[in-house]
């Protein structure tokens, strides 16, 4: 049986959506913009970053648009002073957690975190920087993982599991101690499951995963290729 259509309101506008869609999908389909970061179309949404939060009538909680399914009669607000404040704060907290130094980053000018910060008007950061001492894994012959720039969005984990079916990446530990690890915490260069495909690099929104040898500002990515590959696979199946 094909999924039923439901009627919802987004920012007051009446919209028809499929019942298997998320708020984000329904909003995007009707031309509305909700800021996102950990979400990459084509991969399973996980709601890791909370940048896509929206307000919904009937609940005080803010809901992540990328993981919350629509239902009949739902009414959501995608932009308000409160949401702007929360989204901004979320990005600020991402920036203080690790060492994001745009000026010397390989992804400077092509970074989703950076452009999101610009979009949300993060002109300064109000919290104390954490300055953790983190490693850079340069052991892979073609790619580099710099934990300083990782925001734990888990796109790399998902793209590797869902599209490459290699399951190289996992998230280790909890909270502030969380780290992306390859194989059972082996160095990436020693991870036997890695096929060197580079999908994780293309999916990564920041300079955390990059091609080796790229100088400052030289790492451009094409995450849209990941999306089209996922769509094509979906259509095939």
């Amino acid at each position: 049986m094909p999924p039923k259509n439901v009627s919802i309101r987004i920012d007051g506008e009446l919209i028809s959506a499929r019942e298997d869609q998320t708020i984000l999908e329904a909003a995007t389909a009707s031309g509305k913009h909700i800021p996102t970061l950990c979400h990459l179309a084509g991969l399973t949404p996980v709601g890791a970053c909370r940048v896509c939060i929206v307000e919904a009538q009937g609940t005080d909680r803010l809901l992540p648009a990328c993981t919350t399914p629509v239902h009949e009669g739902m009414s959501v607000t995608t932009s308000s002073a409160k949401l702007a404040r929360y989204r901004r704060m979320t990005v600020e907290l991402l920036l203080v957690e690790r060492n994001h130094v745009c000026s010397v980053c390989v992804s400077n000018g092509h970074c989703e975190l950076q452009s999101l910060a610009t979009e949300l008007g993060v002109t300064n950061v109000r919290f104390a920087f954490n300055y953790p001492k983190l490693d850079v894994d340069v052991s892979h012959p073609r790619y580099v993982l710099d934990h300083n720039r990782c925001i734990l969005c888990s796109r790399c984990v998902r793209v590797c599991a869902e599209l490459e079916h290699a399951h190289v990446w996992e998230v280790r530990s909890r909270g502030i101690h969380s780290r992306i690890v390859s194989d059972l915490n082996a160095k990436w260069g020693e991870a036997q499951s890695c096929t060197n495909c580079g999908k994780c690099v293309q999916a990564c929104p920041t300079g955390a995963l990059a091609e080796k040898g790229r100088a400052v500002e030289e790492m451009t990515k094409s995450s849209e290729k990941i999306t089209s590959l996922a769509r094509w696979r979906g259509a095939e199946a």
Binding site: V136, V138, P141, K212, G213, R214, A215, V216
Partner: protein
């Protein structure tokens, strides 16, 4: 004993403090030049991929980021064990010559000209670029235009005027566009005319500075600079030469890779700036200076016609080697002439437009050393990497570091001449500042330290009592 501290020293890049110690008779017993900030670039780059170093170390300095980009990229080329494409080499020399022009223009017109044109005893409130614009608008305009010309080339090759990243390990990231080259050629004659005018003007003005020339750190000292096999001035490539105070060549043909055999480094109390010295003479006997004056002393000739004619005249007038630190200003102007001549040669060379500008390679050596002549003198980047290319150790020797000991001696000489009694006069503080400034020290670079341009002088008596203390920010 009495002590004078000058803190901060103004119109230099960074933050400095000078202490002048007096003896029982109120005469200068000793001086110290301290740099009071540290930034630790060498430490926090450990573990990072080597090819990020040019971009990171360029952030040490906003005046000559290109110097760090070049020295660092050369060290990376060595780690990759590549010979960069000939066009890339030429473009690197081009961008380097351009930054010499802009940096020397900044030093001369913005930082030093106020002293030179408005006078050392002039009110500090107007003794700056703004006062200069009011009193000598044509000169100020020339300075701005010359600097703009240099920055245009930097922008054309490196991508941006200040922190462009076009200079990369293996070469240059993008070829030079023909229309950009043509545009630069159009502006070149006017830049050359400015350099001509300013040098002629300054040569005439020099007669009025007999006292400064005599007392501005004129102690004879060894000079170090890069030369090619023919003894020509080299800014981007070349081998290190040390020339003794009496003019004999002490050491010659030293490749960058070999610098550690000849240059030792020590630390000084109260200062974050390391003090390099000429190893065979030990510390502190092996004091030497670098930068424009030292380069002109070290070389046999510049290798370009106009600059060479100027060099001959300069040597006739002030001797070879010339010793007064005051002559750094003059040397800077001669180097601007040289750099513009080189820019012309390079822009006229069709090969600069070639599209092949970058060599690619991984880690082929565990060590890489890059040595260039930055505007302020020899700059060395020395990296050790592991098999995967992560930095294990980084050592940077910057121009102002080499001059550390020489600046100390110059301050001593100036204060012996101009400090009188237990009071700091404006003229005296400014002369001490000016001698520091003659070296155009870049303290941001030398401590890899950020900071305001500022200085503090303290005068301390024989019993340790602070007699006078003047700060300028």
């Amino acid at each position: 004993m009495k002590r004078i501290t000058i803190d901060p020293v103004t119109r230099i890049e960074g933050h400095a403090k000078v202490t002048i110690q007096l003896d029982d008779n109120g005469r200068v017993a000793g001086t110290e030049f301290h740099v009071t900030q540290v930034r630790g670039f060498e430490k926090f780059t450990e573990g990072r991929p080597f090819y990020e170093m040019p971009g990171i170390t360029a952030r040490i300095c906003g005046i000559c980021p290109v110097s760090h980009l070049l020295a660092s990229s050369k060290a990376c080329d060595a780690i990759m064990a590549v010979r960069i494409p000939p066009t890339a080499r030429k473009l690197r020399e081009l961008v380097h010559a351009a930054q010499i022009v802009q940096s020397h223009a900044l030093s001369f017109f913005y930082l030093s000209a106020p002293d030179l044109l408005l006078g050392m005893d002039c009110d500090p409130a107007t003794r700056n670029i703004v006062g200069l614009i009011a009193a000598h608008p044509e000169m100020a305009r020339d300075g701005i235009e010359l600097r703009k010309f240099g920055l245009q080339i930097v922008e054309a090759v490196a991508g941006e005027r200040v922190h462009g990243f076009g200079i990369v390990p293996g070469g240059i990231s993008a070829p030079l566009q023909p229309q950009v080259r043509d545009h630069l050629l159009v502006d070149l004659p006017s830049a050359k005319a400015i350099a001509r005018r300013t040098l002629d003007f300054f040569k005439r003005a020099l007669d009025g500075y007999a006292e400064e020339i005599e007392f501005f750190g004129s102690a004879p000292m060894m000079s170090a600079g890069l030369v090619d096999r023919l003894g020509n001035l080299q800014l981007y490539d070349g081998m290190l030469r040390f020339r003794a105070a009496d003019g004999t060549i002490t050491a010659d043909g030293i490749e960058g890779d070999d610098y550690a055999t000849w240059i030792g480094e020590t630390t000084l109390r109260d200062s974050y700036m390391k003090a390099p010295y000429f190893k065979p003479r030990g510390f502190p006997g092996g004091v030497y200076r670098v930068g424009p004056l030292a380069r002109l002393n070290a070389i046999d000739q510049c290798g370009t016609p106009v600059a060479d004619a100027e060099l001959v005249e300069f040597r006739e007038r002030f001797g070879a080697p010339a010793h007064s630190a005051f002559l750094y200003h003059c040397a800077r102007l001669i180097e601007i002439v040289y750099a513009l001549e080189r820019i012309e040669v390079l822009l006229d060379d069709e090969q600069v437009l070639d599209k092949h500008v970058r060599a690619a390679a991984g880690v082929n050596a565990h060590e890489g050393i890059g040595m260039i002549e930055a505007p302020r003198g020899i700059l060395i980047h020395h990296y050790n990497v592991d098999d995967d290319g992560a930095i294990v150790k980084a050592n940077l020797i910057v121009a102002t570091g080499h001059n550390n000991l020489a600046i100390g001696r110059a301050i001593q000489q100036v204060s012996e001449r101009f400090v009188d009694g237990a009071k700091l006069t404006e003229g005296m503080i400014n002369r001490v500042s000016a001698v520091v400034r003659a070296y155009d020290p870049c303290l941001s670079c030398s401590t890899h330290a950020a900071g305001e341009i500022a200085m503090r002088v303290t005068l301390v008596g024989a019993d340790g009592e602070v007699l006078d203390d003047v700060s300028r920010f």
